[in-house]
């Protein structure tokens, strides 16, 4: 008992000294569990996040837009893979992680349960959803767990093109016809609030924040990053000439920040708990892809066996 207490104290001292924790280091079970949950949830979000955008690849309005969107969605697949491999350093295996996504045991970002109804949504996702993800991920480049922090550095380098391509789509629409501008406005109307919800429950209702801050898994609270996002995004919307759908939104001179209206947390919890517009569709698509890909995984193993046998035979002859 005494010994466990010592280990915990040494661990916390290392965290407080801003040392990184690496896979084989001793860590409290709860730290490991929290990380596995958070990294897996992050990985699942990257993977499920490909679906709403994938919906528009074949209907992108030009070849330029199409190659960009294709590259972006491919990056998200890469992000998912970096993160799964970071989670695996904590002793969980890939198959378990995937199972937990498919059975609904693991969560992913609720934003991906909203539908992409028009091309302008692809612009709004890049600008707002990737923009929000970047705020969170930049913070996480300084997270205390080494493999997670390194995955974040790699991801952040790739993200900025995602946000820029989204903003450029909206900029083009906003400089186009009235109908195009209306499309951009409609997309902002639908994506604004769900984007603010991406940062998670407000600090007073967030059960994990305090411990995660102490372990320096998180370096800022949900409300802090949400505010940072609003402050960065409002001028960008003004530049586009479209209106953020919040009558309470206004600059607060004394705080040095934008004030914004209350978030509909009922909607947030509805979507988190499986009742968003696309929850079932998203999981169905993932399970289908996994099942229909089973033969590829098996064929690759069979081919690897065959190649090994052939190489062995060849060395014997030589």
């Amino acid at each position: 008992m005494e010994k466990l207490h010592d280990l915990q104290e040494i661990f916390q001292a290392r965290i407080d000294a801003d040392e990184k924790i690496e896979p084989k280091d001793w860590m409290p079970d709860a730290y490991r569990k929290t990380l596995i949950r958070q990294i897996a949830q992050h990985a699942h979000s990257e993977i499920v996040g490909m679906l709403p955008e994938g919906n528009w690849i074949s209907r992108a309005p030009s070849l330029r837009r199409k190659v960009a969107l294709l590259a972006k969605v491919q990056d998200e697949a890469g992000h998912g893979l970096y993160l799964y491999s970071a989670a695996e350093t904590l002793g969980v295996d890939r198959e378990t992680l995937i199972d937990e996504l498919h059975t609904g045991k693991a969560k992913y970002s609720s934003i991906f349960n909203y539908p992409t109804l028009s091309w302008a949504d692809i612009g709004a996702i890049g600008w707002l959803v990737d923009g929000a993800a970047i705020m969170n991920q930049v913070m996480l480049t300084r997270t205390s767990y080494g493999p997670y922090a390194r995955a974040m550095v790699r991801i952040c380098k790739e993200e900025s093109f995602h946000q820029r391509q989204g903003y450029e789509i909206l900029l083009t629409l906003c400089r186009g016809s009235e109908a195009q501008k209306a499309m951009a406005q409609d997309a902002l109307n639908r994506w604004w609030w769900p984007s603010l919800m991406m940062f998670g429950p407000s600090d007073k209702d967030s059960q994990h924040t305090e411990q995660s801050m102490r372990w320096r898994i998180k370096r800022k609270t949900n409300d802090e990053i949400r505010q940072q996002f609003v402050d960065a995004t409002v001028p960008q919307a003004e530049f586009l000439g479209i209106t953020i759908p919040d009558p309470d939104l206004q600059w607060n001179e004394s705080r040095g920040h934008y004030d914004f209206g209350p978030i509909n947390w009922d909607e947030f919890w509805q979507v988190v708990n499986g009742n968003g517009p696309c929850n079932r569709e998203r999981i169905r698509a993932r399970v289908k892809a996994h099942e229909e890909g089973a033969w590829v995984r098996e064929a690759a193993l069979a081919y690897a066996e065959k190649r090994k046998a052939r190489n062995a035979a060849a060395t014997k002859v030589a």
Binding site: E22, K24, D25, W26, A71, Q74, D75, G78, L81, Y82, S85, A86, E88, T89, D93, R94, E95, P147, R150, A151, R154, E158, R297, E298, A300, L301, Y303, A304, R307, K308
Partner: protein, 94 residues
């Protein structure tokens, strides 16, 4: 059949003159496919000109519990560093 592809550690040389550096891991059925997957996962933006893959189970790592025992012997050997030696300032290029 339920069998995961094995895990591989990936090392990339970003350009000639630099060593290969660990970048992460991935699953693949064998070494050749691991290299092909590593190309797609870790070098989408010309991050490398050469890839090594090693099956993770083949890596032997020192244990963090032995850090002291392993590295202590080097700790007190200050005479291995140039600053240990006292030379007058007038002596140049040394």
């Amino acid at each position: 059949m339920k069998k995961d592809w094995p895990l591989w550690e990936v090392f990339i040389r970003s350009k000639n003159g630099l060593s290969h550096k660990h970048v992460g891991s991935l699953h693949a059925a064998d070494a050749e496919m691991a290299i092909e997957n590593a190309r797609d996962v870790y070098t989408r933006r010309n991050e490398g000109i050469s890839i090594w893959v090693v099956e993770s189970s083949n890596i032997t790592a020192s244990s963090p519990n032995q850090t002291e025992a392993l590295f202590d012997p080097a700790n007190d050997k200050v005479y291995r560093h140039p600053t240990f030696y006292d030379l007058p300032d007038e002596v140049k290029h040394i």
